[in-house]
């Protein structure tokens, strides 16, 4: 489900609060940050179905009813974090 405008603003500012500092400053204004969050949110909306379909096809033991939507989301996030050296 797509984020509301309030959730988009809160998400961007939470990101700044936790992941920006003097060494990695927030070089974006709040509206610019909102726009970035909207892009990510829209990308997820656009690609959610193909992600689920890929899981079902390539890993049927994990896909479909064998994992919850939350588990699929967590798996996606974990893979992203490890790929970026964040976990």
């Amino acid at each position: 489900m797509a984020l509301t405008a309030a959730q988009q603003r809160a998400t961007g500012l939470r990101f700044v609060e936790r992941h920006c500092d003097a060494a990695s400053p927030a070089r974006w204004t709040k509206p610019q940050l909102d726009a970035a969050v909207v892009v990510v949110d829209q990308w997820l909306t656009d690609n959610q179905a193909s992600f689920v379909a890929a899981l079902n096809a390539g890993a049927p033991a994990f896909g479909g009813a064998n994992s919850t939507a939350q588990q699929k989301a967590w798996l996606f996030v974990y893979v992203v974090l490890v790929r970026q050296g964040l976990l």
Partner: protein, 174 residues
Amino acid sequence: MATGVINLPIGAAVLPDGSASNAAPAIQRVKSSAAAPTPYFLQAAFDAATEEQLLWPLVVPADYGGTPVLNLLFKMLSASTGDVIVEGRVAAVTAGDATDVDAKALDAANTSAAVAVPGTVGHLAAITLALTNADSLADGDLAVVYLARDATNAADTAAGDLELVGVALSYTRL
């Protein structure tokens, strides 16, 4: 005409109670990362999403002649671009007024221009805010000075906390 100055230390501010529309900034003790002995100071961290506020009660000096101005020094926690906006208000009561101090309201808001944040995190910038709406402030009054970051103003565009490190109220002396 000479100018008088009242320092309003961060540590002397009264924090609102945290109820709806009464959010308070975090008061932080900061230790410089320089070698010891190192400067310590207090700062108030104003959120980028919620309007948070500080208040200073004071007795107005005998040489107060008008033209109150809030002078602020701030830096940013993480933002290196965008603008901030602050809002100042005053409540003033003169001894003998038919006013219930316990029910006293703040005068109308005085809103600053959009002030650009420093391009480097940790650098200082200043805001000058004329308190045009000053509730007929006069010498000898009991006054409460209110300060907030207008974080929900569309023109307050800087992401991340505003760290307020210095506040002074200047005025024209009699």
